[in-house]
């Protein structure tokens, strides 16, 4: 499905409780708002950040941060 194994971060907003760990762990890709809810940088995750992105997803206490293949319809 995903060309060149491109991956992106996605937030499950119903699960997310604003712990903000992801923003602390991965400031290159994730800002936090005043309430510590994430603001994701758009687009696929750079190859050299994939490992850190996966670690941030694994550490989310609500399992609300997801690293997943870029869906086919999001690429041109």
């Amino acid at each position: 499905m995903s060309r060149n194994g491109e991956r992106r971060l996605r937030v499950d907003w119903v699960r997310c409780d604003g712990y903000g760990l992801c923003g602390d762990m991965l400031p290159e890709l994730i800002d936090l708002d005043e309430w510590r809810f994430p603001i994701l940088r758009a687009g696929p995750v750079d190859r050299d950040l994939l490992h850190d992105a996966q670690r941030a997803a694994d550490c989310c206490p609500m399992k609300a941060l997801i690293l997943e293949p870029v869906p086919a319809d999001r690429r041109r």
């Binding site: 937030v11 907003w13 119903v14 997310c16 409780d17 604003g18 708002d33 005043e34 309430w35 809810f37 603001i39």
Partner: protein, 399 residues
Amino acid sequence: MGGAAERLGAHVARLGPLPGDRRRDIIPSLEASGLLGRGGAGFPVGRKWRAMAERRHGDAVIVANGAEGEPASFKDRVLMANRPHLVIDGAILAAEAVGAGEIVLYVGGEHEAAVAAMSRALMERGDERRPPLRIVTAPVGYVAGEATAAVHYINAGDARPTTTPPRMSERGVDGRPTLVQNVESLAYAALIARFGEDWYRTAGRSETPGTGLITVTGAAEQQGVREIELGTTVGEVAAASGAGSHAVQAVVLGGYFGTWARAEDVWDLPLDPAGMRAGGLAFGCGIVGLLPEGRCGVTATAEIMGFMADESAGQCGPCVYGLRALGDATARVARGRAEADDLDRIERWTAQLPGRGACHHPDGAVQLLASALDVFGDEFNRHARMRRCSVTRSRLDVA
């Protein structure tokens, strides 16, 4: 439309019965008519019915959506209260066209005249041949009329939107393929079945053919629901409602999910769903809100933002905290109680809120606020920094 609900005898005498021989051809007829859905999204009705009719399997359900949660809109409840049989005709037509075994009339419980009229109409129709039909009264709430929330409520008594697959066109009410259609769209379908697509297309002055129901609110002597030929301009609607251009400073189009515009910029704009979409505006469910001279646009916007924050379904953090904070900051500005960085906060939150939720509720609110900042920018500044309102010519910080 006025007065009480039309009885079955009067309805049939006025329009004739729903013709049996046209029912088979109704989908091509709707497609050719150019009828667009009137719930807000404006999706072509014929295409929606065809997709449902061509499904692979399953006995379908029709939901006639008459839960009018948009606070500025009255056209659906007025239609149901006055012409209940036309709406029911449309629902039966949809059921026969797509092969549905059940019809649910989903009517806002607080629309009391509409519930009464639809219930009595159902009794009057007694033993006609049609799929089983029941009325479900919808709870109060802005999102209760959203299509997935309607299905969720009918199934489980919970009128919050759902975002998880499968889509309701595959598994909706009782797990069956479900077609949710606004009651005004159904009423027009029932007219097109009688008089044909060419008749429908004789009306319409711009891109979108036909006529439509709109709700005029604000600076008009005759507020309320009107049927217009699509393509009629904002200025013509205002004039017909008893509002002159000098009396209107701004217009909100499309409702609480819509857009503010300066009156002079949209006075000659045709109220035409296709044309408005091309211009980045929304016909939505047909709201024309006229803000009178002398009424403060900042305050009007703060009221809408407060309402939108109250109506959050409470499922997602950015909506729960961010939309509430936006509503509160806008209210402080409007009252002349702005904190030093409230305008900066409003700008920042308006930029960062969209797209961060399970549904588009905050996105719609933010779009309305962004248009307000554009149209009423000077007034926002004056309220926040000088604590003055030039519209009401008052100081705001003397309590």
